[in-house]
């Protein structure tokens, strides 16, 4: 049986670990609230943009117009954007993304991957580490995006991706990230970023929704479309990043909550063991004293 002093030290160390995990949980909860606020802030903009798009398409009558972001070319080169985080200790958050990317490479994009025509852009240090551990080559990394995340920096990245697509560098760009459902639930999604499919979705909406299409348009429909479509793409990208950030904090909060619970359980068990050991030592001592006294009285 371990000696009493050792056990006492063990209990102290588990307790301090518990304190750390509890503090991390609190921090994540605060950060989660901030991240959630950012998602809420983007909604009026995204919603209005969508409304305008629906109205314009209703006015056009069809989604057939020249749009360099919607061209379905023969897919030759693919870019997968894996959005993870810079920090760990958040449960399966990062490894899920890594696993999904691996799965994509081995199933859907199998033939492209063998030919070496799939590139990976990893946003988040942990994603890079995870992919490297699986011997998957990461073409480009972008960790700075999370430092003081704002729309402008995300916009630049989105524009780069859009340029790469319209220049023909890639024929398809996918986003892999954790979508935020609530603090405890994240949904891993693979989203096709380019070529855009929003047109088809909007077309469906414009058939069912009541719309108003008697607008004065300045300068004209096509010009307005040309400025709105890139905007909505950038918003889509920014939203993915925000979702991922909120998911990260949610995942970490849950992970740290579980860690704190586990530590409590461990401490309880250790205390029980410690008390048993202490009691048996005392019993032993009493026995010794009694038998010693008996021998003297003999």
């Amino acid at each position: 049986m371990a000696n009493l002093k050792e056990m006492r030290l063990r209990i102290v160390s588990v307790k301090s670990t518990q304190q750390v995990t509890r503090a991390m949980k609190m921090v994540s909860a605060a950060k989660l609230r901030k991240a959630q606020d950012a998602i809420i802030q983007i909604r009026p903009y995204a919603g209005k943009l969508h409304d305008i798009l629906v109205n314009l398409i209703a006015q056009l009558g069809s989604a057939d117009f020249e749009n360099k972001y919607a061209e379905h070319k023969d897919t030759k080169r693919i870019l997968i954007v894996a959005i993870t985080s810079n920090r760990g200790l958040c449960g399966g958050f990062n490894s899920n993304v890594v696993k999904k990317v691996e799965e994509l490479l081995l199933t859907n994009y199998d033939s492209y991957y063998k030919r070496g025509s799939v590139d990976i852009l990893a946003i988040g240090k942990k994603g890079v580490d995870g992919l490297k551990a699986k011997n998957i080559q990461v073409t480009k990394t972008l960790h700075k995006l999370f430092e003081g995340l704002e729309y402008r920096s995300a916009e630049v990245v989105a524009q780069d991706l859009m340029n790469a697509f319209s220049d023909g560098e890639y024929d398809r760009i996918d986003l892999v990230y954790n979508q935020f459902k609530n603090a405890a639930v994240q949904k891993l999604v693979v989203e096709q970023f380019l070529p855009v499919e929003i047109m088809e979705k909007v077309m469906e909406d414009s058939e069912t929704h009541h719309y108003f299409s008697d607008y004065i348009l300045e300068p004209n429909v096509l010009e307005i479309m040309k400025t709105i479509i890139p905007k909505s793409l950038k918003i889509q990208f920014f939203k993915s990043i925000l979702d991922s950030v909120a998911s990260e904090h949610g995942a970490r909060m849950t992970a740290m909550h579980k860690a704190t619970d586990n530590a409590s359980e461990l401490i309880r068990d250790l205390h029980l063991q410690y008390n048993k050991a202490r009691q048996s030592t005392i019993t032993g001592e009493i026995l010794e004293i009694v038998s010693g006294a008996n021998a003297l009285n003999g």
Partner: protein, 91 residues
């Protein structure tokens, strides 16, 4: 088509990160792609792209405020004006 007459219009100036302005306004001057234009109450519905420039807002108290923008889109519909701004130059 009948549209009720209002005295003021409701203006929202929104960026992806925050609302720059939200409230009633009397006059809005916008940097349209074909030049500056003003929107007054009961303007007919329109959608326009915006260029780099200043938005001038006169609210119901007569206070005038300005917002620098680099581009965006505006929708005017039934005395509700939504200005979607890429990002404001001032922070």
């Amino acid at each position: 088509m009948y549209r009720p007459k209002y005295q003021y219009m409701f203006l929202d100036i929104i960026t992806p990160e925050k609302k720059l302005f939200s409230g009633e306004a009397e006059l809005v001057k916008l940097p349209g792609s074909a030049g500056y234009f003003e929107v007054l109450t009961n303007h007919s519905p329109m959608i326009s792209t915006l260029m780099e420039g200043k938005i001038k807002v006169k609210d119901v108290h007569g206070t005038i405020s300005y917002f620098d923008i680099v581009g965006g889109v505006v929708e005017v519909l039934n005395n509700k004006i939504a200005v979607l701004v890429d990002s404001s130059a001032i922070d």
